[in-house]
Amino acid sequence: MQPVASRLPARKHRSLPARAGIGLKPEHFRAILDTAPDIGFFEIHAENYMVDGGPFHHYLTRIRERYPLSIHGVGLSIGGEGPLDEGHLDRLAALLDRYQPESFSEHLAWSSHGGVFLNDLLPVAYDAATLERVCAHIGRVQDRLKRRMLLENPATYVEFAASTMAEADFIGEVVRRSGCGLLLDVNNVHVSCTNHGRDARDYLAALPLDAVEEIHLAGFAEDSDGAGAPLLIDSHGAPVAEVVWALYCHALDLIGALPTLIERDNDIPALPVLLAEARHAERILERLQPAAHGVAA
């Protein structure tokens, strides 16, 4: 079957600008409308807005009128063993229809199993069966939402004996078969490569970088594994680390300037603190040309 993305209009939805954005948090709703910060875009977690009405939709409607929007799902369970939750996909379609985001992304992970939602992005084995399943699920998502989705590379803490492919090769195959784009989470690259003894630059080089349409940056927490080796936790609860900024610059050198999100979901600071981190990313982006593959300047 022809990948769904190649059957869709290439630019039905306008793209995110190749600038920095931040995650939209209820704590900042009023400050954003009051101060109208100069920021490239906002990103929301889709599931937080799957409610009928009230303040969340009130503020998102007003903020979306003023800024480009990325909708980022955390609950589709694309790596899950069962079929996708069609009810959830319907809710997602309604949300995208209402807010017409410039970008929609989800994760290479599973979060539901046996009807239970586990509220975490859980790891998959990189084997032929998973590849088939993930591609089928992405195909269903893209058909239902009538748009290309971006898939985010994961932060993981364990690997599976059943894996037969390297993670970057697996992602490359998913992108090739499903026609989806890639959301490159640079923090996840650093976290996973540290946790599994890999070289982050080698990993980056093995990814299908020409499919990257957005970048995520976030902070991590540090722990150690059973042997005392560093174990990094993708906490989204700290500023972006220096080592991740350096890897970000390296990634941009390979790809060009891309929409870049500062993710912060825990220990959320005041809005100006996040805006300052976004400005830091913008100063790096301004030194570069936009990526060659069709992101709006």
């Binding site: 586990l118 084995a125 803490y157």
Partner: protein, 261 residues
């Protein structure tokens, strides 16, 4: 058993377990790495409950609340990725949770906090104008048979405990001594509605709560009023209608003769 069954079971198992088939690059035991996922799952869901049930938490203390919430997460994990409404069932769980048998009002406080979240996220519906309500009220023949459609954010909770006073005593603007003055065994009914972007909670009489509950079940004004008056000698139908109008809670009226929505 499918590949992810053991992984999923290990996440919510009470004792630390580790599914088979995990590898680590340095040969370290995978238990500590798997524990990161266990921790993410349980802490994330307990945090979601703590966000929705702050007064319940204040009444038992943070450590106790989190231990109780962990039990709930294991017994009744969410079925939907939409966590805003996770906690349906938490009040019922508390009611049957032996360690809090000495706090008989705790379950109703949790119920009130869950209704508050529901009111917060309920659909946006415009109230009909006072003029249009007035036109129906002015028709004495049609009025008893009128049926009201109420705003989805308007909710009531009758309780045999002092739910509104206990809740109010834990709000930031409450005087420090307010809690000591509350008699938890005093029956109270709560009315919740959305005023602009805020959820308001106030105490109403038992007749008012019953009246609104019956209207929500599509009773006519006459039927709901009769039930409320039979249960509560102090029930005042005119004041209750005025309250509903002031809350912007009437979103439609149907009478045998006409329909206004």
């Amino acid at each position: 058993m499918s590949g992810l069954d053991a992984f999923a079971e290990g996440l919510l198992a009470p004792a630390a377990t580790c599914p088979p088939g995990l590898l680590t690059w340095n040969g370290s035991a995978p238990e500590k790495r798997f524990a990161v996922y266990r921790n993410n799952v349980v802490v994330g869901l307990v945090d979601a409950l703590a966000d929705s049930f702050p007064v319940t938490q204040a009444l038992v203390g943070e450590d106790f609340f989190r231990a109780m919430a962990r039990e709930f997460v294991r017994v009744k994990p969410p079925r939907s990725p939409v966590l805003a409404l996770y906690g349906d069932g938490f009040a019922g769980f508390i009611e049957d949770f032996p360690p809090v048998a000495g706090l008989p009002y705790l379950a109703d406080i949790a119920h009130l906090e869950y209704l508050r979240v529901m009111a917060w996220h309920a659909a946006d519906v415009d109230a009909i104008t006072p003029e249009r309500i007035g036109a129906v009220l002015a028709d004495p023949d049609g009025l008893p048979q009128a049926r009201l459609t109420l705003h989805p954010a308007l909710l009531v909770l009758p309780s045999v405990h002092a739910v509104v006073s206990l809740w109010a005593a834990h709000q930031a603007d409450s005087p420090a001594l307010a809690l000591a003055a509350v008699d938890p065994a005093q029956a109270e009914a709560a009315l919740l509605w959305r005023n602009g972007l805020e959820v308001e909670i106030r105490r109403v009489g038992p007749g008012t709560a019953l009246f609104i509950g019956r209207l929500q079940q599509a009773a006519s004004l006459a039927q709901a009023g009769a039930a409320a008056m039979a249960a509560d000698a102090d029930f005042d139908p005119a004041a209750t209608l005025a309250l509903l109008i002031s809350c912007g809670a009437i979103t439609g009226i149907t009478t045998p003769r006409n329909s206004v929505a």
